[in-house]
Structure formats: C-alpha cells, structure tokens
C-alpha cells in the first residue's frame, strides 16, 4: 500500500500560536481520497486535526480545502493524483482562501460566503398567487437553472476567486451563480429588478475579472463565471440596463466598434465606453468626463513612450470585407430571441455522439 505524506496547515485559535505546518504519513490505496487520508490521520494520530466533512461523495459541500494550492473538495481528490501534483512528494493541504480561518482546515463560511448569498435575495419571487397546479415552463429552462442549482456551496470558487482576493466586497462567483438561478427561472417575476440591482452594484456582475478561476475549481460544473456572463447578457442585451459601472457602455462600445471596423480600436473604445457607446454622449456626461480624465495620463503615456502613434490612436482602418461582418451582425441581431448553446444541457460532445441528437433524449 502506498505511503503518502500530507503536509497540513494547522491553526489552533486557543493556543496563541500562529498557523504552522504539520506532516502526517498515511498508508492508503491510491484510489482513496485526500479526505480519507486526513480522516485516517485524525483517527490514528491526532484527533484534534479538524476539517468539516460529511457525505464523502461530493454532494454535501463540507470539505472544501486547498490541495497543492488548488481549491477543491478533499473527498473527490484522489491521493494518487494529489501526490503527483504535490511538491517534494508531499500533498499540501490548506484551508480555503478569501475566508477567515477558524481552526485548522475549517473556515468561516458565514462571514463571507453565506453573507454574499443572502445579498442576492436568494429566493423565488413569483408574481401573484401560485397556479392551482404547477407553473408551466419550458423544459430546457429548468435544466438551464439546474446548473446553478447544482451548486453545493462548498466555497471552492469563493476561495479561488481572483477578484475577491483584491476586492472583498465583490459579491463573488457562488452568490452570483445563485442569482442567475432566479434570473434564469421563468417563474420569477423580478428579473429586471434583480439585474438592475446586480448591474448597479459596484461589486456586482461587473466586478468579475473573467479569470475562469471559479470555472476551473467548481466540482459540480456550475461554471459560476458563465452564469455571471449570462447575467451580463440578460442585463445588457435583453434589458438594456445602463449601469453606473459602465458595463453596458463598455460592451456596447466594443460590440459596435467590431461591427464598424471588424477589429478593435482601443483608442476609441475608452471614450465610447463612457458614453454608453456614443462618442458624443461621452463628451457631455459629467461622470464620463471624470473617468476619462483619470484615463488621460495613460493615453498620453502611450503616445509619449512611442508605443502608440497618433495615427493609430485617431484612425482605425476598416477590415477588408467589413460588409460581411455587418451582415452577420444584422442576421444575428435581428432575431427576436438570442440563441445560446448551453453545453451543460447538450453535453461537451452533445450532438456528435450517436443517438444523442435532440430526438435521443427528449421523449418522456
């Protein structure tokens, strides 16, 4: 039986000592989990070693930790894989990040995660009295929001979030995914209010830096960042919500520029962004002027360093065949409903596998 070394970050709040590292040797078969190893060490060597855990099947969400720096569940991380990634043969286990440590591997989820969940008004708000029977809704819409329902609140994404690392006020990936669960639910009657709220909050949907850390670590394929991007799509494309964070303006300016030129003109992106996509409005909105002022040194610096020529800054060439880009825009944007392919619904190899096309699984 292989011998594994766990290097565990320990902290006893009652000892007055700072956190420290302790190593434990554990004999277990390679297919067993890191949680099994921690529990083995706890059972046989030191009962004071503390970790929340319960189901051992990646469904209760208790055992979120960082293993070799990656936020994940201890129960569905195989020892053999963890040892391979470990440094100097040891499997390094630490408490999750972005949350205060209470003891050993136990962090304060209430102070961060649950507070943020509470922030997004996490319950369904239908209009009026419920129907006599069930609400009738599109079957795919239920699968669609089930992706966010699949969240087990383990905190791995919160722990890994690179925005939270610099802005603790950020609502964060788990809570925003939870928000999408209601925004995407056709039974909810407050879609626009919810979107407005999350778009206007300086720490809301536009505070996500699009780093994919949450997508990478989520053990349940919730893909929180994808849900945040959907919130943005709903806010801008469906509801035209013009937020104070410039989310709408930035997206509109960017999208319009590509429609016009085919490639991006950074020099025009900035001023247009602050005018909700319009260069003119950017000149007359006081807030926009202030923001632009803050950016001005950057542009000047770009010019003086020889990085950007005045010509590049002021003129941008249209692509050859730009009419084709415009045609595609026209075709897509003239549709009443946006088309989205959710790989959570069709599968990563959804329509490519035999028997898995839309007839395959839709019958009742």
């Amino acid at each position: 039986m292989p011998d594994y070394t766990l290097k565990i970050r320990r902290f006893d709040p009652e000892s007055g000592r700072p956190a420290y590292w302790q190593e434990f040797g554990v004999d277990l078969p390679e297919e067993r989990s890191v949680l099994d190893a921690i529990l083995r060490a706890k059972d046989e060597q030191d009962g004071s070693l503390s970790i929340r855990c319960s189901c051992q099947a990646a469904i209760c969400g208790s055992c979120g930790v960082r293993i070799n720096g990656m936020s994940r569940l201890a129960c569905n991380t195989k020892l053999s894989e963890a040892a391979e990634d470990g440094r100097n043969g040891a499997i390094v286990v630490e408490p999750m990040g972005n949350m205060p440590v209470i003891k050993d591997l136990i962090v304060d989820m209430d102070a961060v995660h649950w507070k943020k969940v509470q922030r997004v008004v996490p319950w369904l708000l239908p209009e009026g009295d419920p129907p006599a029977r069930e609400y009738i809704v599109d079957p795919e819409s239920m699968i669609d929001v089930t992706q966010s329902m699949a969240c087990i609140h383990c905190g791995a994404c919160v722990s890994a979030c690179l925005s939270l690392e610099v802005d603790p006020e950020f609502i964060g990936p788990a809570a925003l995914a939870k928000a999408y669960r209601f925004v995407g639910d056709p039974r909810d009657a407050h879609t626009e209010d919810r979107l407005l709220d999350l778009a206007e909050d300086p720490h809301g949907i536009y505070d996500c830096t699009h780093c994919f850390a949450c997508v990478e670590v989520c053990p349940k394929d919730v893909a929180p960042m994808d849900q945040i991007m959907r919130l943005r799509r709903r806010a801008t494309a469906d509801y035209g919500i013009k937020d104070q964070n410039n989310g709408y303006g930035h997206e509109k300016a960017f999208t319009d520029l590509i429609e016009k030129y085919g490639t991006l003109s950074e020099a025009q992106l900035l001023p247009k962004s602050y005018g909700d996509g319009s260069l003119i409005r950017a000149q007359v909105k006081p807030a926009a002027l202030k923001e632009l002022g803050a950016k001005f040194p950057t542009v000047i610096r770009g010019l003086t360093s020889g990085k950007v020529s005045p010509k590049t800054a002021l003129l941008h060439h249209k692509l050859q065949d730009q009419d084709q880009i415009r045609r595609i825009y026209e075709e897509v944007e003239s549709k009443e409903d946006r088309l989205e392919l959710n790989l959570y619904i069709v599968g990563e190899s959804g329509g490519e596998e035999e028997g898995a096309t839309s007839e395959g699984g839709q019958e009742e």
């Binding site: 006893d12 009652e14 297919e31 059972d43 046989e44 030191d46 009962g47 004071s48 503390s50 929340r52 319960s54 189901c55 051992q56 099947a57 990646a58 469904i59 209760c60 208790s62 569905n76 195989k78 209470i102 003891k103 136990i106 989820m109 209430d110 509470q118 996490p122 319950w123 369904l124 239908p126 419920p130 029977r133 069930e134 609400y135 009738i136 809704v137 599109d138 079957p139 239920m142 699968i143 929001v145 089930t146 329902m149 699949a150 087990i152 609140h153 209601f182 639910d185 349940k220 394929d221 069709v346 599968g347 959804g350 596998e353 028997g355 898995a356 096309t357 395959g360 699984g361 839709q362």
Partner: protein, 560 residues
C-alpha cells in the same frame, strides 16, 4: 436562555419543513443542527420523490404499492395520509422554486422507480434531495422568524418534572459554549443511523443522535431491525448509485452475463422493491455468480447518452471520481449496501411520540409508513409530509402550553460529563477503532441475510464495545470545533442504535421486508404481523409489541 414554542433538532428536509410549517402557524421557531443545514444528508437523495399527481394515477395505487413494499408492516392509516398529501406537497415545492424536470408540454415530468405500478417519481436530474433542501433553505433565509442555530451539537433532551419535554442542551461547536434551550415542544429531525454500518451510503453525520436521545429519555423506538440495504452501492466505499439509473432503464447482470432478476422478479425485474433486488444480488454473489470483488454489474450504457447527461449527471461523476468508471460506456460493479433505517422513534400520524411535547419526523422517526421496506423515492415524501404535520401539530400544542423554565443544572450536568471526557487519560481504545469494529460487525451479521448465531455474536460484540466506549479518551482538549469530543458522544449514540437494531432482529423470528432470517425464511403473519417496540429499561431495551394498522389492504403474498 433561548426559548421557542417549537424547537427543531436537525435541519434536513424534515426539520426545515417542520420549522417552516410551525412558523407559518405563528409559532416562534428555533432550528438547531450540528451541521450547516445545506450539509444535511437529505442532499444525498438522488432519484426523486413519489406522488400520484397525474390524473391517470391515484393515491390508492401509490398507497397500495407502499403497503406491499413495506411487506405489510406499514401502518395503512399513515400511508394513506402520506399518499393523499403527496401531490400537494410536490406542488408546494414547485411553487417555492424547486426546478423539477418538465415534459415537452412544460408540465411536471416523471420517471419510473422501483416497486411502483406507475411512473410517479418527480425529480430534479439526480440531485432531487439537494434541490429541495436548498429551496427550503432559501425559505429559511427569507423568513427570519425562524431562528437558526447552525453548528450546534445537541447532547441531550430535557424533560420537566411532569415528563413533558422542556428543551435541550446543546454545545455551540464554534466556541464550545454550552447552551440550555427552553422549548414548549421539540421536533426531532436528526436523521438516520447508517454510520453504525461500514460501509454505508450514509454520511458521517448519520449517527442516530435523535433516535438515541429520545430512547434515553424513555421514548419507545419501533422496528429498529428494519434496515434497508440499497441494491446499488459501490463496492469499495459504499457510495450510492441512484435507483433512478434502473428507473431510466439500466440492467443488472451477474458475472456470467445473465440478467438474473428474470429469476427473482419476472415482472418488475430490476424495478422490484429494494429488499427483493438486494436479496437477489446477494444470492448471486453468495452462490458464486458474482465478480471476484463480491459484486454484480449495473449496466447503464443502455440509457441514451443525452438522457444520462440530463438525468443522471451526478452518478456519472460518482462513477468517474470514485470508481474510475465511465458509466456511459461500461458497466459498473455494485453490491447491496447499508442505506436507510425504516425503524426509529415511534410516532403517530402527527409526529407525536409517547413523550408529551416531543415529536419526530423523517428518518429518525417510525410512523410507520415504510414498515419492513421503504420504496425508493418515498423517503423524501415522508420527510416533507410528516415534517409539515409535526410542525403544524407542535405549533398548535405550544399554544396551549406555558414556556417551561428548565433549571440550569441540566447544563452543569452535561458540562461536567464533557469535561470528564475531555480530561480523561488515555488508557483505552480510540473512538475510531470502536466505530470501525462496530461498523464491520453490523455489516457482517445484521445485513441482507441474518441468523440467530450471527445476531448473538453481534450482540456480544456490541456489549463489549459499549464497555470499551466508557473509557475512550480523546486528543483534542480545546473548545473550538472539538470534533474529537463530538465523535466520542456520537459513538455512544451509535452503540445504543446498534444494540436496539440487534435486539429487534433477534426478536423478530420471521422474514419480512429487510429482515431476512435464514433460520426463519418465511413471513409469519400469524405471529409477527406486529411492530416491535423497544423502551430503555436500566441500560437495556425492553421489548413490547404494538399492532399494525390495516385499513383496506389485507396481507397477501408479495410478488414482483
């Protein structure tokens, strides 16, 4: 001292449903749980929840299936209530936001499940329990009139001088403070006792705390020998593969490639009730037709890939992460494994126990709607229907009752006990050793097939372990999250549960539902169509009997 009209212990589906129902009725409610509510084991219910909601279906049909599934040990009045109230319960959940699967018309869609004569299982992919649990928790977050005590470990229930429940003592896990709770009524919703087995599909928290605490203050337990082995669990670690897999069309094969259920249940095949399928598998394995690792094969590859993706996503992950098998491409090895306790704290149709003011709902309780064998997808229903009924009844009861004022000595006594435990010198066995031996013993002797010799051996072992448990010592001397301490307390609860299960199994000299005695292989309605009640007497359970309620379905031979 925190005081509430209704104090709920346990925050899984039964507890949360009870709390919401009591609050709706205007009671002041507190809900205590040793884990954060969304960590509760209700999460693990994958397949769905039964209800005769389709116009073509009827509650009578659902009730009959349940009665037959219970091997006629279920109380038919309670079963009728559960099945009648099921459709409304589903609709309530739907209105609260559960993302139930829809059919093409956008209406609630169903899947087939074991032991059922119609497809009446409503579901959310294969995370039904999780989805409902989280939606109920959303409601708890919304209604701040329900006070939540998250990560509070209850050590004992408290009675007043008249024997009416008066509250409980609990330890706040985060800082170790002991708290006395006063309550006009207490609803136990602390779940089952699967951890007395090893392996088990149950979470580490399922240590039978509620069952033991009720038993220790004199509450009778019922049918504790009725312990379900689920037909499809992973060989190594006991993890669950949902019955939904068979509901979607998966087959079982022995090592010779035979679809052996044809020999045991020619009509329902893989969808016979769980006790039947588990026994069939165990017979195949015992008679040498299993695989060398003591398993048979579950073949899910028959199910269309897109359907697997949509409806069985979680077990794809379980197969991949915990068995290294891509279940969409190859069969997976499974065997029967400990899963559910049909028995528990004896209650009536409103969740009332025999102790005034004390209620129980969910797996901790025995109403009994499951009798000798629970049908798949009836457990969630049980938690919700009887959780709600307990909550409502408790709220009413509280209205006509004064707030008790239990003396502080209760806390002092508990604190002294725990201090002694923490301060104890190490000279005995470790908690983990005793727990492991208990689990192995139960899985060896109190499993799918039982006989007197094995049960007596198990009884002896458990007696010895009880003695050894008195001198266990722990390493952790601190106040903050002293899990070592909680482990020792849980061990005591588990040993009481195990003792009662064995006593019940020895007592029942027949084969019914999950209890199959190789030395008494027939069902014996003349002598044993009755519940076995266990009440603490000294430090041993005293056996008595109570009648099974029969309303419209007389016992008959059970065929699938």
């Amino acid at each position: 001292m925190p005081s509430h009209d209704v104090l709920v212990i346990g925050a899984g589906l039964a507890g949360q449903r009870a709390a919401l129902a009591a609050a709706e009725d205007g009671a002041s409610v507190g809900i205590l749980s040793k884990v954060h509510p969304v960590r509760s084991h209700s999460n693990a219910a994958q397949g769905g929840i039964n209800a005769a909601l389709n116009p073509e279906d009827s509650w009578e049909s659902h009730a009959y299936d349940t009665v037959k599934g219970s091997d006629y040990l279920g109380d038919q009045d309670a079963i009728e209530i559960m099945c009648k109230e099921a459709p409304n319960e589903i609709l309530t959940l739907e209105h609260l936001g559960v993302t139930f699967h829809r059919n093409e018309e956008g209406r609630l869609g169903t899947r087939a499940f074991g032991g059922a004569s119609a497809a009446r299982t409503y579901y959310v992919a294969d995370i039904t329990g999780q989805a409902i649990l989280h939606v109920l928790y959303e409601q708890l977050m919304r209604h701040d009139e329900v006070y939540r005590y998250e990560e509070f470990f209850t050590t004992t229930l408290v009675l007043d001088d008249d024997g009416h429940v008066a509250g409980c003592v609990a330890r706040q896990m985060r800082d170790g403070t002991m708290e006395l709770f006063a309550a006009k009524t207490v609803i136990l919703a602390a779940g089952g006792n699967g951890q007395i087995y090893n392996p088990t599909t149950n979470a580490l928290i399922c240590t039978g705390d509620g069952i033991a605490m009720a038993y220790r203050i004199g509450g009778p337990l019922m049918d504790m020998e009725m312990i379900q082995y689920h037909p499809t669990t992973l060989a190594g670690n006991g993890l669950l593969i949902t019955e939904g897999a068979r509901g979607e069309g998966a087959h079982l094969y022995n090592a010779q490639g035979e679809r052996f259920m044809e020999n045991y249940a020619p009509n329902k095949l893989e969808l016979a009730s769980r006790d039947v399928v588990s026994r069939a598998e165990q017979t195949e394995i015992n008679e040498g037709r299993g695989f060398p690792d003591g398993t048979v094969a579950l073949d899910i590859t028959k199910v269309p890939r897109k359907r697997i993706h949509e409806a069985l996503r979680e077990i794809v992950n379980v197969g991949r992460d915990f068995a290294g098998v891509d279940i969409t491409r190859e069969p997976i090895h499974i065997k029967p494994g400990n899963h559910y306790t049909m028995g528990g704290v004896k209650t009536d149709k409103d969740g009332r126990t025999e102790i005034p003011g004390l209620y129980a709902a969910g797996e901790v309780a025995c109403v009994s709607v499951h009798g000798g064998n629970r049908l798949g997808a009836n457990s969630l229903l049980d938690t919700l229907v009887f959780g709600r009924r307990s909550g409502k009844h408790a709220a009413h009861h509280a209205r006509n009752h004064q707030m008790p004022e239990p003396p502080h000595s209760h806390v002092d006594d508990e604190e002294a006990k725990l201090r002694e435990l923490i301060g104890r010198e190490r000279n005995g066995r470790r908690v983990s050793e005793i727990r492991t031996e208990l689990g192995r013993t139960m899985d060896e002797h109190v499993a799918v097939f039982r006989d007197e010799g094995g049960l007596l051996e198990a009884a002896q072992t458990v007696q010895r372990l009880k003695e050894e448990a008195k001198s266990v010592a722990i390493d952790d001397k601190g106040n903050v999250f002293n899990q070592d301490l909680f482990g020792a307390i849980e061990l005591g609860f588990m040993l009481d549960n195990a003792e009662c299960a064995i006593v019940g199994a020895l007592e029942r000299k027949e084969s019914r539902g999950a209890q199959f005695r190789t030395d008494y292989p027939e069902r014996n309605d003349d002598e044993w169509l009755k519940h076995i009640d266990l009440t603490l007497d000294g430090d041993r359970p005293n056996v008595s009997y109570s009648e099974v309620t029969i309303t419209q379905w007389e016992p008959e031979e059970r065929k699938y």
